[in-house]
């Protein structure tokens, strides 16, 4: 096969595929006629964004954080508090939350950049717990476990939409944002540095790669994007409390989704969300909360032992075989 044909054919197939995918995504609200499923679909988007954001810290920068729910909470609470107390639109609140979370993430990065493996994990765990305890106990600010409600006040300018489908489209935008940032990082100088640091930190440093700077920037970006997802979640559900935003279980689930899908890749976390969230919902509905989580735990163990690169690696292999079989790939 000459060089020209497969490449053009491959590009054509990819273009058609993308167009179809886009059409499908835009048509989702029409395809899912029940509010229950559309609701779930929007949550899939939230988790896709969360897992993708986490991946920037854990997959690209190698920092396995088990405290990311903290940033989710910061995004959610900042937007809600600014809206409830000061009438600031959640769109602006989202930016403020992102900046706050980014700074917090950077701080965490500075504190933890030298820690290896389980020590880093434990530090982020402690950090997550600190934020959670603050959320529960600083009642003056957060109303504690009672939570905060976001009144349905005003419309689109306050990120509050009467129509559920609009949340779907905004959610798509959110995922597109995080995906875009991920892809940009992959191709950028930061991306190269992060991979080098992951592969061999001493060698990378000897080439002039500044460890702290890279890890801190990645941590800040990851935190900020997580917070953006938090704001979106707050305006979607219109009720937040520490249990739904800063709890440890959330941090674990974020990691689980990304790992199952495929850490270190831009699309892996998205795949993870598409598979894990509906699966969890189905399990929860049919078996109950406990058994569903038990399955989650088992899934985590199995994936991590047998396919630590996530399902996307397997999917890529299948895709490649199909490509070779159909002559599209050499």
């Amino acid at each position: 096969m000459s060089g020209a044909t497969p490449s053009t054919a491959r590009r054509a197939v990819r273009a058609v595929g993308l167009v179809l995918l886009l059409a499908l995504l835009l048509a989702v609200p029409a395809l899912l006629d029940s509010a229950y499923w559309l609701d779930l679909a929007v949550m899939v988007l939230v988790w896709a964004a969360l897992a993708s954001a986490w991946n920037i810290s854990a997959g690209y920068a190698g920092g396995l954080s088990l405290g990311h729910a903290a940033f989710f909470g910061v995004g959610a609470y900042t937007a809600v508090l600014l809206f409830n107390e000061l009438g600031v639109s959640p769109w602006l609140g989202m930016l403020v939350g992102a900046v706050l979370a980014g700074l917090l993430g950077a701080l965490l990065g500075v504190i933890t950049f030298r820690l290896k493996g389980p020590f880093f994990v434990l530090a982020t765990l402690a950090f997550g717990f600190v934020v959670h305890i603050l959320a529960v106990n600083w009642r003056g600010l957060t109303r504690g476990a009672a939570g905060l409600t976001l009144p349905f006040d005003g419309g689109p300018q306050n990120m509050l939409f009467a129509d559920l489908s609009t949340y779907w489209y905004v959610g798509l935008g959110l995922v597109a944002l995080v995906l875009g940032v991920s892809l940009w990082i992959e191709r950028s100088r930061l991306g190269y540095y992060l991979v080098a640091l992951r592969e061999d930190e001493d060698a990378a440093r000897s080439l002039g790669v500044r460890v702290v700077g890279c890890k801190v920037i990645a941590a800040a970006i990851s935190a900020a994007l997580t917070a953006v997802a938090g704001t979106f979640y707050a305006t979607f559900i219109q009720y937040i409390d520490p249990a739904s935003t800063t709890q440890f279980e959330l941090s674990v689930q974020i990691a689980l989704v990304a790992i199952v899908g495929g850490m270190g890749t831009a699309l892996g976390p998205l795949l993870g969300a598409v598979i894990v969230i509906p699966l969890g919902e189905v399990l929860r509905a049919s078996l109950g909360g406990g058994p569903a989580l038990a399955v989650y735990g088992l899934l985590l163990v199995v994936i991590v032992l047998t396919a630590p690169n996530g399902l996307i690696a397997g999917l890529r292999r299948v895709g490649r075989r199909v490509g070779v079989a159909t002559g599209v790939v050499r």
Binding site: R187, S188, R189, Y192, Y193, V195, A196, E199, D200, D202, A203, A204, R205, S206, L207, G208, V209, R210, V211
Partner: protein
């Protein structure tokens, strides 16, 4: 260009380097030789910033670099290879070199061009898209050198880049060294291959058990009684 002043390194009671001092002038090729375990790689680690000496100072172009980590020293023109090669295994050969080029401040596109140029210079252009971890040892060693060059380093620490190479490969590497030296680069080379040292180094420092026991031209040093004693049993041939 490089000044090592009374460097001593203690590891939990083991003295790996004991009051070693010497200099490398700009444009020189200096050999650092000594039996295994003599402390040569530790000295490299001190110079490149991976190990903090218990005592002593390192000067790069006159500047005391004690406060600078490896990354900062690299950006001041210091490059090194590792004795046990450390490629970025999952990256392509080209990308390995791009990383270093990026630290020069070049944009990604520019850096890729610079890297491609370096690969061609070292005869690695055929392997540009090969994954680094699938390279055989000789090519990995060459990749180490390519990477060290990618940062635009003016002073290069080469740690046994000829270990495990066959005579043809050794000669190719020596030719490369000489052409780089002609461009004004400075080298400090750890090497066990005496033939190579004789051919390319104008000055040699000998370390044994952490102590500098001799220094001079290759001829002077190889006749030095202490050096001969340290290497007892090690055959060498002069050019």
């Amino acid at each position: 260009m490089l000044g090592i002043e009374h460097v001593t390194v203690d590891f939990d009671g083991l003295r790996a380097v004991d009051d070693v001092s010497f200099e490398v002038a700009e444009g020189q090729v200096v050999g650092l030789i000594g039996p295994n375990g003599a402390g040569k790689t530790t000295l490299f680690n001190v110079v490149s910033g991976l190990v903090i000496p218990t005592r002593g100072r390192v000067r790069l172009a006159g500047e005391d670099v004690a406060r600078l980590g490896p990354a900062e020293r690299s950006r001041r023109g210091l490059g090194r290879t590792f004795q046990v090669v450390k490629p970025f295994g999952g990256l392509s050969v080209l990308d390995n070199v791009v990383v270093g080029a990026l630290t020069r401040g070049q944009r990604v596109g520019e850096a890729r061009e610079t890297a491609a140029g370096i690969l061609t210079r070292l005869g690695l252009e055929r392997f540009a898209t090969t994954t680094a971890r699938s390279l055989p040892l000789a090519l990995r060693k060459r990749l180490e050198v390519a990477r060290a060059l990618s940062t635009g380093a003016r002073l290069l620490l080469l740690d046994e880049i000829m270990g495990g190479l066959n005579p043809t490969e050794v000669n190719e590497t020596l030719d490369l060294l000489e052409s780089l030296r002609a461009e004004g680069l400075t080298f400090l080379v750890i090497e066990h291959n005496m033939h190579a040292i004789m051919r390319v180094a104008e000055h040699v420092v000998v370390i044994n058990q952490g102590v500098r026991i001799a220094e001079g031209t290759p001829e002077e040093v190889t006749q030095h009684p202490e050096v001969v004693a340290a290497y007892l049993g090690e055959p060498h041939e002069s050019a």
